[in-house]
Symmetry: C2
Subunit: 383 residues, 2 copies
């Protein structure tokens, strides 16, 4: 089995920290910067695998918390892991479940050993430890596993963030040991990424990053941002943290964000992103385009025969009109959220491809501020 490796192909020389590279895994290469569609419960909601392929998605996300609860480790093992189960042969990254335990589960109790929680589905009691989340991710068979962490809320006191960070650092070590002491179940190497925490405290972020880098992982994630802090803080702490991460390893900013957030993240040295926005907003009729956002339920689209985006090659744009998709939302047909989600995922993946091309071509710094302003600007329909 071959370890995960990263080739840094180019770093922007126009004043930003934007990078283009390739992550090599046993299930295929991942060209960075990359957006990873979120397949929470073994499916990217409303987006069949054929549309993920069509979008050019190279890696998707699974959520260990959700998959551990349903279908559970046993079913996943019986089916040969998540790749076969979900009919997705390309790379998969799984989070550790920590974030969901702290945001979704009930009656959680944190100790140095792990966290006890009750399932948000049926109230059943469960215990996650660094070792058990590795076991769950072995059952899943993800190409990139994440360590168990605690993700502090925003705002939080320095002392809370410091203590939380200590636990996260210890759990990262235990996860690393658990990985060393176990084997993949499906014959493919599974990398492990730790998560830099530390809230919006520079001393804690620096300590967290340095501690984890000393432990030598195959890539590094930044967590605990995009949790309610003002956008300038998101950008400031992304920028601050990447300075402490090795140049020859991929960097993953967890749970971020809008198309503009992604471009700003790239400019601050991030290679990998995931977010539920394209699917969650799609289900609510909010559509992302390179011209800005659209609320496709808007009355102005009632007779509009054009596709959402003439230049887009997704199934929704190559097949259906704005008028039709608006109608589907109006009558609450399930094809509506599907088409909007398919388009949004396509757009997110596409905008990353375009960003990569500009970085490689040396045109990033000329291109990105305008595009970030457009995709981060007003809705094109004024809604």
């Amino acid at each position: 089995m071959k370890k995960l490796t990263f080739d840094l192909l180019k770093t922007d020389d126009g004043g930003s920290k934007a990078r283009a590279g390739v992550i090599h895994t046993e299930r295929g290469d991942i060209e960075t910067p990359i957006f990873m569609p979120v397949g929470t419960r073994a499916t990217v909601r409303g987006v069949p695998e054929r549309d993920l392929h069509n979008a050019g998605a190279q890696i998707i996300l699974g959520n260990t918390y959700h998959l551990y609860l349903r279908p559970g480790n046993d079913v996943l093992i019986s089916q040969g892991g998540l790749h076969k189960f979900a009919s997705w042969p390309k790379p998969i990254l799984t989070d550790s479940g920590g974030y969901q335990v702290f945001s979704l589960a009930k009656l959680r109790k944190l100790t140095a050993d792990g966290v006890t929680f009750r399932s948000h589905i049926d109230g059943s009691s469960h215990f996650f430890t660094p070792e058990s989340v590795i076991e769950a991710q072995r059952a899943i068979g993800s190409d990139i596993m994440m360590v168990l962490d605690e993700c502090p809320p925003h705002p939080c006191e320095h002392i809370y963030a410091k203590n939380s960070n200590e636990i996260t650092m210890k759990w990262a070590k235990r996860c690393q040991v658990a990985v060393e002491n176990s084997e993949p179940l499906y014959g493919k190497h599974q990398a492990l990424f730790p998560i830099v925490q530390g809230s919006v405290y520079k001393d804690l972020r620096e300590y967290s990053a340095k501690t984890l880098v000393d432990m030598d992982f195959e890539g590094y994630a930044i967590g605990g941002l995009s949790v309610g802090e003002p956008i300038p803080l998101l950008y400031e702490f992304t920028d601050f943290t990447t300075d402490f991460l090795p140049k020859d390893k991929p960097r993953y900013l967890m749970g971020v964000g809008t198309p503009a957030n992604l471009l700003e993240g790239i400019a601050r040295g991030i290679d990998m992103f995931d977010c539920v926005m394209p699917t969650r907003n799609g289900r609510n009729a909010t559509i992302f385009t390179r011209m800005g956002g659209m609320n496709i339920k808007n009355m102005r689209y009632i007779n509009d025969p054009r596709p959402i985006d003439e230049a887009c090659t997704c199934y929704a744009c190559t097949t259906y009109s704005r008028s039709y998709i608006r109608h589907l939302f109006t009558v609450q047909e399930m094809l509506a959220p599907m088409l909007a989600s398919i388009h949004n995922i396509h757009f997110y993946v596409e905008i990353m491809k375009e960003a990569r091309k500009h970085i490689l071509d040396g045109t990033w710094s000329a291109w990105y501020p305008g595009m970030a302003a457009t995709v981060g600007g007003k809705m094109v329909d004024g809604q």
Copy 2:
């Protein structure tokens, strides 16, 4: 513009009335017997057009009542009709809306002139006449339009069925005149089929059929069956009615039914069928196969890596396992009802193709009783 024509290729000589033929329309040929997926609100629920094409669907249904209310005639006209709107270039048949007015709308009031009703959506008041439903179907641009009719419930008194039938006959004539006095909006001929009614009274069915045949339409529908009567009556009155219909015109049994009902309908001389069962049951995890029915939520499928049907070429069967689809239903992901609906539509279209092949090959009478017993029999999983 060319009228709709029908070539009867072969009639079973093994003792049944099964027929194989071709309906020629300006938007393509329809090989009969045929199942027409129901696209109530301009979409076959949960089944994108790519999967209708993959199933080999040659014609789909639209519901005038629903389309008249939303998106409405104006939007349909602005978009160049339902074919362009729904991105479906092949033939479309529309019902007249009569059935929905009598089953779905509120506060309906029937007069000789037409029917006043309140929308089931917003309570707004509307008036359907034979002329207005033709106008609506002109806006839709369907290749086969249906006359406005009243569909009596089951059971109903002879006197009610007789009076209702008289209205339906008069409305059929007025629809025919309305078609003669109007033009298609999109340059393609639109055929008109009347509907034989008469409940389960042979004198009324005979009178209805003969009256309509005398009026000379391009095809004939049988309505008012599959409305709650016992199955033997459905079969008896289908058989009885087709004897009065011309051999050189297509015959459409409205709203029928299970896969077994379709095969029994073919044996009684029917060429065309529509039903919401494959999509409605699919949404509830009930799956049709040539081995019988399946409840895919059944615990027995939890670790089953096989597709629903190994021989099926639908997207669900060629991509995903029973275990995975069961999981999707368990976690209520929207991909679940989609995949089940895609498979069921594929199966319905496929079983008609198979029936047609057997009629043409002269093997119908040997094949159909066994297949009807299997697909009409128990669930394969004993549920």
